[in-house]
Symmetry: C2
């Protein structure tokens, strides 16, 4: 007998847990498409442990992909000894490259994956781009789904790299436990980050390409702007790096470890994850009711009500009341 | 006996129809706030004739307010003789200045109102800024409500000027019968307009400050980009003006009249207004169900479901299914 459709996600999940990368890739493709199949995958991941998620965002050209590539190497050495549970191995990890501006993830991401090629032969590193190919609710739903799946297959750490600095990029990157904002010493970069709302979501700043002119000015601008933001129990540090030469990336991973320890010890990790989950449930609810609204809008009754308002026998709100009743 | 609350909108509407500007201002304030009172005003406007709406948008500093001010003067002369009903008087008109970026409309708009002061003493011209002070659904609902009200008090023409070039500005401006996009000869202005999605919504382009260098280049860039857009039955013309000296504004109003005639004669005016109304009803529906979702999210049951997902006994979609059932 052939396995039923509902057995398929569980079977693929078992294979992915056993290390079959093609099974994991198929499951992620299902999540990208959304729909009933994606829900079945999400259900199969119920109760799985959450991975630690590091979001990496910043202006295009800041060198996020190179930095992510180098970060993989340092992360493979495990969490630093001063971590919440002492030194801790990271036996495998995943990188999700997310491009919200492209529903079909074009050349840029493919190029990024090639740039991360130094880990292409490492079986404990899984690199994959993610797009919202029809997932209702888009990447704001597909990314949390993918993170749950990666936790379910046993990944203790996921790096989420976003391309671009739009609202969606900020939303995706800030749905991480630690959000790293990558900037370059270029004039106005810090200001651009502020405009994009990156200052509010950053847990760590990295001035990449720090061998260029203007690092001191950029650091000064950035620290002044950070000081203006509301003070919290965590003060986002400004680090320097030259990712291309792997300089400063070990300190970056140490800083990620320090932030993780801060979140665990302060209890903020649990608070953040709870509010992120609540926001995700709200988005799923909104996507569901939006689908219901669009089904109504496509119906004949809706057309009749539009006609009634045009004919002057109803006002718009009265028409909607009739649809809702 | 004092009049009941439900009589109030009808009473104010009668007063506004009789020319009482303070009654009209109060009604518009009610619409800005939204809620049950705004619905009562909308209901009182049922069956009112729609005004002809001209949207004016474009980059900050392009001179939109001055152009709008001059346009008022030319519009007071009536629709041109080659219009759909021949020469036609415009006995009164309204200007709505809309700033979506500011929920409370700050200094910029106030400044604009002062700049339109050449018509401040003309009782047949009503100038007013509009903000969404709490209206659920924001300006995308408050503006159509205001336009219906202005039609109901007998305005045959409304100019809607937006400040800024964000997505909301484009949405508000393109909810007009004729959308005028104002640019200056400055380098890159046309490209910026393209990025903001203004090319798709423009019925007319105006190169304002056309006494500056670079008009020919700007016109060439713009016409090339317009030519690349999908061809329709109306080809958006590129006009030149120096609003400050009232040069070219008479031709602009003539072009608005030609576009109006085109819309009426082709039947497109009715098609556009129907699809705009349908979009408005959809937005009202979405605002209503979003309110329902947020009521659920604020409830105890929602918190319990978040806990259940965190405890690993439910997946997010399963939790939402329980909320929806």
């Amino acid at each position: 007998v052939s396995p039923s459709a509902s057995d398929e996600p569980a079977r693929l999940l078992d294979a992915a847990r056993a290390g079959e990368r093609r099974a994991l890739a198929r499951l992620l493709s299902v999540l990208e498409r959304g729909g009933a199949e994606a829900r079945a995958v999400a259900a199969a991941c119920t109760g799985a442990p959450a991975p630690y998620v590091v979001g990496i965002t910043g202006a295009p050209g800041a060198g996020k992909s190179t930095l992510t590539d180098r970060l993989i190497g340092h992360a493979r050495g495990g969490w630093p000894a001063e971590g919440p549970e002492g030194a801790q191995a990271i036996d495998q990890l995943a990188v999700l490259a997310v491009d919200p501006s492209s529903p079909l993830s074009g050349g840029a991401i493919l190029g990024d994956r090639v740039r991360m090629a130094s880990h292409a032969t490492d079986p404990s590193v899984y690199i994959r781009s993610l797009a919202a190919r029809g997932h209702l609710g888009g990447l704001s739903l597909a990314v949390p789904d993918a993170l749950r799946l990666l936790g379910a297959v046993g990944m203790p750490l996921v790096l989420v790299e976003t391309v671009g600095v739009g609202q969606m990029e900020v939303e995706v990157a800030s749905a991480a436990d630690t959000t790293v904002v990558v900037l370059t010493p270029g004039w106005g970069d810090a200001m651009q980050a502020a405009k994009a709302g990156l200052l509010e979501v950053a847990d760590l700043f990295v001035l990449n390409k720090a061998d260029r002119l203007g690092v001191a000015e950029a650091r000064r601008d950035l620290e002044a702007m950070v000081a203006l933001s509301a003070p919290g129990s965590w003060h986002p540090p400004v680090l320097e790096a030259v990712a291309l030469e792997d300089r400063g990336v070990d300190q970056l991973f140490e800083a990620v470890g320090r932030h993780r320890r801060h979140l665990v010890e302060s209890g903020e990790l649990a608070v953040r994850r709870r509010s992120r989950l609540a926001a995700q449930l709200r988005r799923i609810l909104l996507a569901a009711v939006t689908q219901q609204v669009d089904a109504q809008v496509a119906g004949e009754r809706f057309e009749h009500l539009v006609d009634a308002v045009l004919a002057g026998s109803l006002d718009p709100y009265g028409a909607v009341d009739q649809l809702l009743s």
